[in-house]
Assembly symmetry: C2
Homo-oligomer: 377 residues x 2
């Protein structure tokens, strides 16, 4: 009954949804391919800590397995973790309205973003992204048909004023920032909250790098703006990017909608990882953060006379302004110095930056800085 | 600068995306609430095995943790698991075209469905679902704006013929079926493949219950139709529903698009679970399946004189036709017999069925059958 040769329907058959034409994975794939082609590279492109997940957390994982926690959990997450997260949001982030019924446990921040964009954004909605930005924001917002505007992270009050009559559905930023390492100042957070309030927008603060705060500058916008949607992760803080765990703090109505959507999509975050998350929240990470602070300083001191860039406040990235075009610089860095970097166009509108990650060993970092100095001339 | 009282924008501010109005979690929540209200219920509503995840699999999880496998994996999954899955699809499912580059490892079947629906379906597209169906199919397809038609699992050739001039984007079914336990016969699979070919539709076969095949009737449509998209899970087979692992087998172009989308959404399936998946594929499950086969027989023999229903071929469900309305029957079952069931309207268009799960202990099942016999009169 079936003709084994391909029929005239072939072209139609292979048609993807229209929104698939709006995303492209090639930039990231290129970086991977570059890295895989050379021997013993100095990889300064990695978006995760170089230290292992602390032993008390992996022990908690083992315990959860031993306890047989392999079945579905409640969609919103195990109550114990939601309670512990509420406590963390209240005491660490000073978000006094944080309660467990305002929290959804998600399968990583990326999953949290996809739930939010699906639940909040309609095609044609106007959204605002602080630039430079995490690649996923414009990609997925564009995928779901939003019209994306950007605003520099170094915006002035007059830049905000320009938008005040606009109807935004959503404003999103990361602090500390991927890729610049900037921590958003209180004044700017207040201006963004004011803009969200004026334009009727949801304000999303992606705080996945919150613990990487080298000069104690970090402040959650949720600490003074109740309507903020706060994203908090485990992946970067505890070096468990592959385990897929994060959380969203938002108003109850939003959490309720997101929970419904999670029920129909990822169902729940991995069960055993949720139990390990409880232990993670008790883990002191000071020594790890101190190491990255010294690396931040080292990168700054080594490169400040060679490149134009801001000293990072947090995260583990520095966003260097380079001469020439980003992709050519990245290519030259690989060929001449075996250094892997990420071209800046993934994170912003210009082609004059590269992202450097200092989440690596001292040896790599020292070799990398020597190479980057040679590349600057 | 921010007015702490709620502004006039409040209503606009809380506006969810339009598609959120198309999904509703209340039916499932109601079943949960019913179950939580009574002491020592006979729970015949559970959608997962009652046995624990086999020890060799949890040991493999422990080993992956000990080996420090907590970082991101490749988006498409670890190569070792993709290879092992390709081998499984070739040898167990007889899909001879299965190769690792045609496989995407996903964070559960639900995640696989969400990727597929996003990548393949545009608003207004016509889709066909075999009925009764897994709730997520019409819910998420409707969410993404598709026009859903249904076709009875007991369709005749003339029913298929009616659709031959239709332009379907996607046809989806589960075999063995949730909720009926029916395994789709070869003749019907051929007719569905023929319809997909004629109408230019993607044909998706959800085979999450494939191992629960009590009379050796199961056949993958992919074994004779190369273009089929086959979904295979670990959750039900190995009792690891909370660990979130499944896979999609499809043509390379589809896998490539889905991989891009996964990169922007869940990023990767949980790393340690992928390593455990390798071990899972080697696990003999015969004794577990034999137990469920005996339970299937027991349910059939106990209830066949009391209800109208088909003997299940597979999965661990039986779909009973009841007198009166499904929700009232479910309510009565709880109140009079402490039995938890799922109302049929979640799975089909009528209100005359309930779903019974025999994934439970013998004691529960015996008590349940006695109660159900009393409820039939």
């Amino acid at each position: 009954m079936i003709d084994p040769s391909h029929s005239q329907n072939d072209l139609e058959f292979m048609k993807l949804s229209q929104k698939m034409s709006r995303i492209d994975s090639s930039p990231i794939r290129k970086a991977f391919e570059l890295a895989s082609k050379i021997e013993n590279p100095i990889n300064l492109s990695i978006g995760q800590p170089h230290f292992p997940c602390p032993a008390n957390i992996t022990q908690a994982l083992n315990q959860a397995i031993q306890d047989g926690k392999t079945a579905y959990t409640l969609t919103a997450g195990i109550p114990e973790l939601r309670e512990a997260l509420a406590d963390k949001y209240r005491t660490v982030n000073h978000i006094k309205t944080a309660t467990s019924d305002r929290i959804l446990v998600t399968s990583g921040i990326s999953s949290a973003l996809f739930l939010l964009f699906n639940a909040l954004v309609d095609p044609g909605d106007e959204v605002l992204i602080i630039s430079p930005y995490f690649l996923m924001y414009p990609s997925m917002l564009g995928f779901y048909g939003a019209n994306v505007s950007t605003l520099s992270e170094n915006f002035q009050p007059e830049d905000i004023a320009k938008f005040k009559d606009k109807k935004f559905k959503l404003i999103i930023f990361s602090t500390p920032s991927n890729p610049t390492g900037k921590i958003m100042e209180k004044e700017r957070l207040e201006q963004l909250a004011g803009l969200a309030e004026k334009t009727g927008a949801y304000l999303i603060s992606d705080e996945i790098y919150e613990l990487f705060d080298y000069d104690k500058k970090f402040l959650s916008v949720g600490s003074f703006y109740d309507k903020a949607i706060t994203l908090s992760g485990f992946s970067k803080t505890y070096s468990m990017t592959g385990l897929r765990l994060a959380s969203i703090l938002a108003e109850k109505e939003v959490i309720s909608a997101l929970t419904t959507l999670q029920q129909y999509t990822v169902v729940c975050a991995p069960s055993i990882v949720q139990w390990a998350g409880l232990e993670a929240l008790k883990t002191p990470m000071d020594s790890y953060i101190q190491d990255y602070k010294e690396k931040r300083d080292f990168v700054y001191n080594e490169l400040k006379d060679y490149y134009e860039f801001n000293k990072s406040d947090g995260a583990f990235y520095t966003f260097l302004k380079i001469k020439g075009r980003d992709e050519e610089f990245v290519q030259r860095a690989v060929e001449q110095e075996k250094i892997i970097l990420v071209p800046g166009f993934i994170f912003c509108e210009d082609r004059e930056h590269v992202r450097l990650s200092f989440a690596t060993t001292w040896e790599n970092l020292r070799r990398g800085m020597e190479g980057l100095k040679r590349l600057a001339v």
